[in-house]
Amino acid sequence: MGLLTDPSTGQGKFVKILLKYYVHACILLYVSGVLWFLAIAYPNMNANTYFSENALLPGLVKSQFREDREASRYHEEFLDEMKKYPDSIPYPWLLAKFKQIGLDAYMHNFTLASPFNRKDKFSGKNVYGILRAPRGSSAEALVLSTPFRPSSSPHPPTEPSIAIMLAFAKYANKEKYWAKDIIFLITEHEQVGVQAWLEAYYGVTCGSENILDHGDLKGRGGAIQAAINLELHSERIGQMDIKIEGLNGQLPNLDLFNLASKMCSKEGVYQTFKNRGHFYTRKPLLEWWNYFKNMLTMMATQATGIPNGNHGLFHRFGIQALTLEGFEQSKATGSSRIWFVGIGRIIEGVFRSLNNLLERFHQSFFFYLLPSSDRYISISIYIPSVCLMVGTMFIKACARWFKMIETNSEGKNLETSAIRVDKIIITFLTTHFFGVLISNVPQFVAQYPTLSQYETNIKVFYPLLASVVLLTVLPLFVSIRHCKKSMELLNILAMLELGTTLICISMNNFSLGLFCGIISVPAALVINPSNCRVCSYFQRFLWFLIHPLNILVCIVMINTYYLFPEENLDVILFRGWDATMQSIIFSIVDSMIYGNWLYGVITNIFIPNWLCFWIVSFSVFKEGETIKDSDKEKKE
């Protein structure tokens, strides 16, 4: 019972060591956390991907797909048909084709009310066909989906994927071995369509009420186990990119990724992850740098919490999903292009493997990072980096706590009366209350009728900005900042909160948690209630830089600079500011439609937490003032 042994009533050995070395320990832990993170991309630290689920039996059957002519014909017909419907999905043709092939074909209507003005409504249509499993009881289903993009869409076209989907449906319908329903889904309006369809399939609402009216589905299959989303930009595919990052940073099972990756290489298409294929080099540093760069790209996408394809919305429902994006141009030199036959066989291979699954995906990994498409870093390898960083928060909080107790027991006459626990808790709660208010600003502003003359972006963004800026003066109204011990306790509370939040976030979205940790932990380590002027100005300056809004502005500015390197500085600044505004609006909209929690977490937890530290950095006291305070209280 070492832990429970009493080291007299005062300070134990452990505590003494802690008090003496905690600064060193914190720096050491933080640095080792960063180093660990840098190291995990090194090939010796991670492993080759492998199939964990035996039932998949990838690529074991001979591919029989031969409907390529059919696909080409569908493609031509569809292109013709699209001209008749310049802005919307040509649903009669699609329904007719599905029926012709022999599927149960249905249409799904949904309506989206604008989050900031409920009267503005947009409607859309999804078309889907269900191939009923000849050898099963329709208890399980697989989805093959593809987004429909009208010719006016800014995104690259996806007609070939609709053509190949129809051809594959035709082929699959003739086969007798399907034990699971296959749902062929063509969605409109990008992610909104998929979200509406999924919500209708499960009869739930994920975002705010009354925004996305998901409507009803007339036909359903079984429980969906996996989904493949196709985004083929051409009939000839020279490069196949696999996209996995989903909503809130969720990832599909690694086995599904391996499966898709294996099928692509089986058909001989140049297959990439984050637009990067295999590379071989003998220089270890260069190898590491390549892997690390690739991993960082993936983490950047994951950290935003925004799905980079329609697959990302399936994850929330426990459906493993990924997107196959095909490009005509290939980065690789001398690689061949595959035609509809090859694409069809990739799809066939994937679906026949999925058809073999006896249970839903449960083996392999759900939490991983990919430095390339054939290597992975599992949670047990990457989580220490964030734990080491977060550990510093707890260690510092612990050390500070014991230090406070120590000084308390030394100066008996001061007693604990100098610490106003109730006031600290009230301060703490007040900051969080303001956080909740901020998170509700957009909804409130949007309903306020007199503002309706302004543009949505302006009337939502500027009040938000104003309230965030106003909150920075909050420390001036906090009376306890004159008491050193109270500030110390508030500091400890804030550190505990930051640590816990970072752990919780990195469980959900490791990349976001790690980036937040890398940025906020060192700054939080610097913050201490101090009476040294220079120190406290430095702390304020540093902590001000870390404000979530500042970080967002920085990121967006850098991004803009890289996107438009030739522009002048003022143009970049203007564009960057505009983009910042847009990104905030989008994150609010995402939280309302899809239930993306990034905005909520930032406003409800990070900003209040930031405020707590901000208050601590504003502590003003003189040595010995605590005595006066306690004297005053005694008099009262």
């Binding site: 019972m1 429970l4 042994t5 009493d6 929330r316 759900f366 707890f394 816990t500 752990i503 469980m507």
Partner: protein, 477 residues
Amino acid sequence: MKLAPLDITSNIDNTITKYTNVKSTKILRTLQLFIKMSVKIRAAYTNSISTSRIIFTCLAAVIVRYYLMLSKYQTVIANHVEVSTPLNSWKRVSEGLYLISKNINPYEGDVLHETPLSLYLYKNILLVFQDRIHLAFITFDVATAIILFFTTKKFNWDLFVEEENNKETFAKDAVECFLKPEKLFKSSYYVLLTYLFNPFTLFSCVGYSTTVFYNFYLAVMMFCMVHGISVICGIFLALAASVSFYPVVLILPVTMYFKYAIKSNFKIIINLFSFITTSVLIMLMCTDFGKDFSYIRNVYGCILTVPDLQPNIGLFWYFFTEMFEHFRELFIYAFQINNTILYLVPISLRFRKHPFLLTVAINFIITIFKSYPSVGDVGFVLSVVPSFPHLFPFSQQGFLVGTMLIISTSLAPILYYLWIYCNSANANFYFGVTLSFAVAQIFLLTDLLFSQVKRDYMLKYGKNRKIDGEEGILCLE
């Protein structure tokens, strides 16, 4: 401040004082003490917390609860496995009530695990509150808090009186760990605050978990125990035991309390008698006078054999999901013995002089190891902890326990969501969190008990711990 002993006997020998004190009635003793107490302490006791402050606190608690119950978060909270277990979810109760209204025996299925008596009570509570469930829950929760407040107030007073009586026996240099009345008498207000505003009890109340009523029984039982009302104490102990079975073991600490704190053998007998009579009566009522025993399988069978392995914050579900079926019986026995009687006797023997702490400790053990614990139970035991302010200087794990509780409490719902809804994490993650939650509670309990031991040691032998000239260390072995 020091008491001048009035009895002639106490002047002669302290041990004799003890025995004579047993003979003299308690009221007389308190009266004597009141006269002898300095005015300051009495004022500290009576004016420690003003009534308006208590009312204000309760009002604030009511408002918070009411607001949460009417908000959209109510269903979210109620559906959390940490709040609602198969044993205490209101959904199942309303299902049972509905079945009864249709004249169907609710115990035929596997839905309801509440006793018929509880059902009958809920039915009448709903009648009284005219189907405003939230008001019923708020009323009982706030009542529990107030009862706990008075319980701990009395306990602290008794503690103080006891210590003032025994001051002669203490070591001379132990002055600094003597009770500080101004601090001690405030602690009951902290109990009230903790009960009303800690998130565990808050969520339990907002989530309509019937643990609220169970906590009420326990609180009344403790109140009567501390005030020496043995009849009602027995009745409420029987009620609590009929709901959750485990409180049966509390009969031992209660007996200890009547023996060592109130020092009345008569009350022990009365208490035992009322406990047994009430239990029998409850049994008779629940079985419809011996006609229908079906509820026993559904209530006590469910508690003892753990057939429903829905995850909760306890330790049973994971173990029994993972285990080979033929070991099940063995481990059921092992777990239940661990929960009920394994610690009962040793702890009772060691802490017989501190029967209130003993009661809390046994209740704590039940909460940690029971088959279907919920956060309501945890909140109840945690909120009694502030009533031991004299032990805090001796505790070592406060920070560690606090941090562990915070982390595991915030991680639990997240990992459950990832496991059940997103299908990406798995049972091991959630179990890891519940395990650390349990470890935190065990640390807290051990720390509390050990602090008491250390304090006793200090009072007896003083601060000096030199063994052969070197600093000695107290440790658990």
